[in-house]
Symmetry: C2
């Protein structure tokens, strides 16, 4: 097994190592939840101050004529470079759930004339995606159905299926799906593919256009480090845009928002995915984080992410036989977090957090360790693995104070 | 007519005068668009810094266990005190448009069993409200219809009407509707009343519970000064909450959001109006502004707002016969902004902005002047009126540079 000194040497040779300095990271903490909430970019406070004081404070309503109006599309163009999308295919707005509503509705409307009003979703999809897909489908007279994906393969698809919602990386297991093959299989059956990129964007390459994806949504506060509750993004394949109808229709999607016409006329461009006034201040953190991404390369980040998850898993499995690795280790189907299974996962996670190894628990027996390649070191992966093994072996997790369920996330 | 010295004397005697110091207001500007975007509270940058640096930066994911999770309900309780709502009736989330979607959908579902799937809206409603109500009604098999309100009176209501969307204060004319009487008339016909408070909250008393309002939405970045695109709020009358179904269903509305159950079970409380992850950072400005409201009294603010709109209108009409006052001057039906009509409204507005009197244009011939009582002085109302009259009389607005349509708001 690799030694700690070898990890330090790898960090010394790592051309991405300096990126860590772009983030505020508390001392004595190994932060392995960048897959849930990314840390604060060092330049983010200045970005917030610019919007709040220099723009809102000094220009008031005039801010809309400065830069605010174009924030959703400007940020969409920036994110497009990370997800293999072209100009005019991505916009930043609302939450991931609200954006998923828009594209599920749009997909059903695209397929309605063919009688395809059934929406499929992966059985293990992030719950809010299931709730959104189901409630939207039901509201418009359709329905939603869970479809198991086993070993990355689609099951037999039911008749009337119009769209399917898939997560690029599974939030629990860390399994990465083959976007190209699955999208093609769906298309061969006339089904639109809606991808949720929340657990992949910023950690690994995404090629929406190359994979012929139809719609996609994603979160900016995980690997994109934009801050708690920052606005999400939505992607519409260019060829589908003109026939995409959004629910609800709102003024920022209007061809002429400020003409205040009583009748709605959708914008010809990606703005038709907007609804209400953009959350301007909340966008500042995303600019700060995307500046960091601009200074590096997603392929290099992916290579480091794989190295970190390899390292962590190797050290854990080489020194403990008490945990199962849930995440598939084949790099083709591995995301950027590792999930371990242990029957006492909850108190083990609590004990690890107490030691400064910040990870989380997913019922019933999962422990998640996210490896964001922008700011984690090889030595962090090593130390985290040693801590996992030590907490399990020493049974410090049996301390009664770790048994209480008190955290909300 | 009142003199400028008399206005200065009124300001000196104004017990609300010191509140102006709670805001950052650029020098040499009379800001009359608080009805569109409120100015920056002086304490807001510190609130943003607290959330960004002290919470996100220092606690990362742990912020959710500190205070973030309860932000939507905590802020809802604070806003409730301004709109005559009770505990558990208000929550802060998403945009006004998205919140309106939720309650229009909920109202249709409430009434569907009685075959009432028609949604009425005021003919002059803010356009995005029309788009939202129409698109949501259509998507679920209903429809929407414009209903003229003349002299504050409802027209004959069509059969099958289940809900009606009304704006408390009209965004163009500044007309205030009688919430109590209109809600009662709607209820007498079995129709649910949905109120948009965007142009009244923070400027005048709102009594949702007393008026028996069913649903309401409102904006926080106008008279509530929470910053561009800050999250909006939504009100559900307590007796309707248990039967309120929201579209879309999302994880923050779940009874146990972090149980990650594949099946949705709505929260028993006002959280069922949530959808995705709350926009935590964007809430900071709202806290700052609500602290200022806590230090004063909405009845006193209303009295000052009426005094300011009286003063402005008196000076304009006493010294110029070239403009029509669109806003009704009866205090019972007057909001907190004044709309004047002039065939050259657009270049006049541009010329006024050039003189530091910040107002806006609404097609085809309206000029809007918002009088936020928290930070405007009597002398501001006086000087603005003199500027209006002077720009019209001197014809400075004929300068060709004022003819070009270049502003977006």
């Amino acid at each position: 097994v690799v030694t700690r000194d070898a990890c330090i040497a790898r960090d010394a040779a790592d051309e991405l190592a300096a990126l860590r300095n772009s983030f505020t990271l508390p001392p004595n903490m190994i932060y392995l939840l960048g897959n849930s909430l990314g840390p604060l970019p060092r330049s983010a406070p200045a970005h917030f101050q610019r919007v709040v004081q220099d723009e809102w404070g000094a220009h008031l309503i005039g801010g809309w004529n400065l830069s605010w109006y174009d924030e959703p599309t400007r940020l969409g163009e920036r994110i497009a470079t990370l997800i293999g999308a072209g100009p005019g295919e991505v916009v930043v707005a609302d939450s991931t759930s609200i954006n998923l509503m828009k594209v599920v509705y749009a997909a059903i409307e695209q397929q309605r004339s063919d009688g395809r009003i059934l929406v499929g979703y992966e059985a293990g999809l992030f719950p809010t995606d299931i709730y959104v897909a189901s409630s939207v489908a039901r509201s418009v007279g359709g329905s939603a159905v869970a479809l198991d994906i086993v070993d990355g393969e689609l099951p037999d698809l039911p008749d009337g299926l119009g769209a399917m919602v898939l997560s690029h990386v599974d939030y629990r297991s860390g399994r990465l799906l083959g976007m190209r093959a699955l999208t093609k299989q769906l298309h061969d059956r006339g089904v639109l593919a809606i991808w949720d990129l929340s657990h992949s964007v910023g950690a690994l390459p995404v090629q929406l256009d190359d994979c012929e994806a139809d719609y996609a949504v994603g979160c900016t506060y995980k690997y994109l480090n934009a801050g708690p509750g920052a606005p999400a993004f939505v992607f519409v394949r260019d060829r589908l845009l003109a026939s995409t109808r959004v629910l609800p229709e709102g003024w920022f999607a209007h061809r002429e928002p400020f003409a205040m016409s009583p009748s709605f006329a959708a914008s010809d461009d990606i703005r038709r995915l907007l609804v209400g006034t953009p959350s301007v201040v909340a966008c500042a953190g995303l600019h700060a984080s995307l500046d960091i991404f601009d200074s590096t390369d997603i392929a290099k980040l992916r290579a480091k992410s794989l190295a970190l998850t390899d390292l962590f898993t190797e050290v854990v499995t080489a020194t403990s036989s008490d945990v199962d690795v849930v995440t598939p280790m084949d790099p083709d189907v591995r995301g950027s977090h590792i999930t371990l299974r242990h029957e006492s996962a909850y108190p083990i996670v609590r004990a690890l957090i107490d030691r400064g190894v910040v990870c989380d628990f997913r019922a019933p027996d999962g422990m998640r360790f996210g490896f964001a390649p922008l700011y984690l070191r090889h030595v962090d992966a090593y130390d985290a693995a040693v801590a996992v093994v030590d907490v399990i072996r020493s049974e410090t997790w049996r301390d009664p104070r770790y048994a209480m369920r008190e955290t909300v996330t």
